[in-house]
């Protein structure tokens, strides 16, 4: 673990020198924390559009403790909370591919692999460097959002926003997304030599999360703690599969002889 921390520290030194990566880590969380609060601020005194009410009529029935206005706001805010989950998907894949392809571009992998570091330690260090900032920014952004919501939302709406579903999302699903994202980053980095191409390919993994958010936006589904628990289970299985694939690619021999 000591060597994984050495790798983690070095990765961070490099990330701090790269403005593009820093913006990728810092800008989306700030926007995602502020936009829903601004929306809440302007929506709270506005009458609800009857069309919205009609679209979410099934949700009004499912959330009887909320007024129809609160239901509409809840559903819209939920989109943003789902958007928060894009961060643990996008940030790790960006950092992981920057880190690994950066090593390939600089041809630093060979001397690095000649040291007595174990590849599991190296992978763990790189994973930590990608996961820690993603989780921290996600949690801090969600924290800012909740603090703002505390002042802007009605008590009933705030209770709904603090449901176990969201704790599950941020403290179980987000780390699972992070691990999946890093493992995908490793797989992509083994086949691609350009950081931007890797980030573009990596960006595609955000599409399933967006699709799930859209389903709720269009009133097709209302996510519950049970659906999130099921999603966590699926993610855990996916994590195991992709980690296995990533680990098999992240071997000294494979890196030096088969990576492009």
């Amino acid at each position: 673990m000591k060597k994984a921390l050495i790798v983690f520290r070095k990765e961070w030194r490099e990330i701090l020198q790269n403005k593009l990566i820093l913006y990728t880590i810092l800008v989306p969380p700030i926007l995602l924390a502020i936009i829903p609060l601004v929306m809440m601020y302007f929506m709270r005194n506005e009458p609800v559009d009857p069309e919205d009410l009609a679209m979410y009529s099934q949700f009004v029935a499912a959330l009887p403790w909320l007024s129809p206005e609160e239901v509409v706001m809840y559903v819209l805010l939920n989109q943003f909370v789902l958007m928060f989950l894009m961060m643990p998907v996008v940030i790790p894949v960006t950092i992981a591919s920057f880190s690994i392809i950066g090593e390939k571009e600089q041809r630093s992998l060979e001397p690095l692999l000649a040291t007595p570091i174990r590849v599991t330690e190296l992978l763990a260090g790189k994973t930590l460097a990608a996961v820690v900032p993603a989780l921290l920014t996600t949690w801090v952004a969600f924290g800012i959002f909740l603090v703002g919501a505390r002042f802007l939302a009605t008590p009933a709406l705030l209770r709904a926003l603090l449901s176990p579903m969201w704790w599950l999302a941020f403290f179980v699903m987000a780390p699972l997304f992070c691990i999946l994202s890093v493992a995908i980053g490793v797989v992509i980095s083994s086949r691609v030599n350009d950081t931007r191409v890797a980030q573009q390919i990596g960006g595609l993994i955000v599409l399933p999360v967006m699709a799930l958010a859209m389903l709720q936006t269009f009133g097709k589904v209302l996510y519950t703690t049970q659906t999130f628990a099921l999603a966590c289970l699926v993610l855990a299985v996916l994590d195991v599969l992709v980690i296995r694939m990533g680990s098999s690619l992240f071997q000294r021999e494979t890196i030096l002889t088969r990576w492009k």
Binding site: K3, I6, K10, R13, E14, Q17, N18, Q106, R107, S108, L109, E110, P111, L112, L113, A114, T115, P116, I117, R252, E253, L256, T257
Partner: protein
Amino acid sequence: MMIETHDLTRRFNGNLAVDRLTIDVREGEVFGFLGPNGAGKTTTVRMLACLIRPTSGTARINGYELGRDNQQIRRICGILTETPGLYDKLSAQANLLYFAQLYDVENPEAQVRKYLQMLGLWDKRDEPVGTFSKGMRQKVAIARALIHEPRLLFLDEPTAALDPESAKTVRDFIEELKGEKRTIFLCTHNLDEAERLCDRIGVIRQRIIAVDTPDGLRRSLFGRQTEVQLAEVTPAIVDAVSGLEFVAHVKQDGNRLRISLADPDAQNPVLVEQLVRAGAKVQYVSEVKHSLEDVYLTLVREEAR
């Protein structure tokens, strides 16, 4: 022995990269590894540095068995790869500190300072290596290879792509290292460099073609020859020299005679005496020294036939 290999072989998708390599490298020796591009030099280094596995064969590094004791081998080996492979955005100090920590160096800061000062880079320690010249980057890479004081150092083309001044600095530094009694395994295309630095040389083209000291290789290929410059060469003089029982071969080139001898140290005085007796006016006597380039090209061409 620092390195002992036996029938070390590596194939890539069926293609033979290194074929039954059997060599011994002694402790404290500078061993030159020569061969054309694609001859298997880098593959051999990668196998010996535990970066890739051999397809078959065995090797021991300082008594440690390749494959079984890889972590111990990595601890005692340093490697300078074909390209410096530095982290461009990090400073020279940060680059070296990272590797010092990965090698579990006891006092990493002091060790980094030692090598940066030794290579004249201490004043530039905080500058990103991306701003360094090729020569400076190569120095940082050498410092990185030495940061954990390895007993065995693999140098893969250490002066390739360097300007003459930087190349000389690097070569001088390798000579200093030679004085420290480290074992150095030097892959190079630069035959002058190999001649100057190496105790023994191995010529490889997938399989090992020859291993010996530079002089030993010359002798085994060309024998020993004495060149005599005369004021005038007459048939009588040539006959007189050819008549000597220890002379294997005489070749005339203008007023010069090139004479193959088994033991010039003992036979040259007799030879000169015979020439004078035959009426020759001797101007110069010197030993014919074939360049390592002649040796290398002859070996590689013979192998290609």
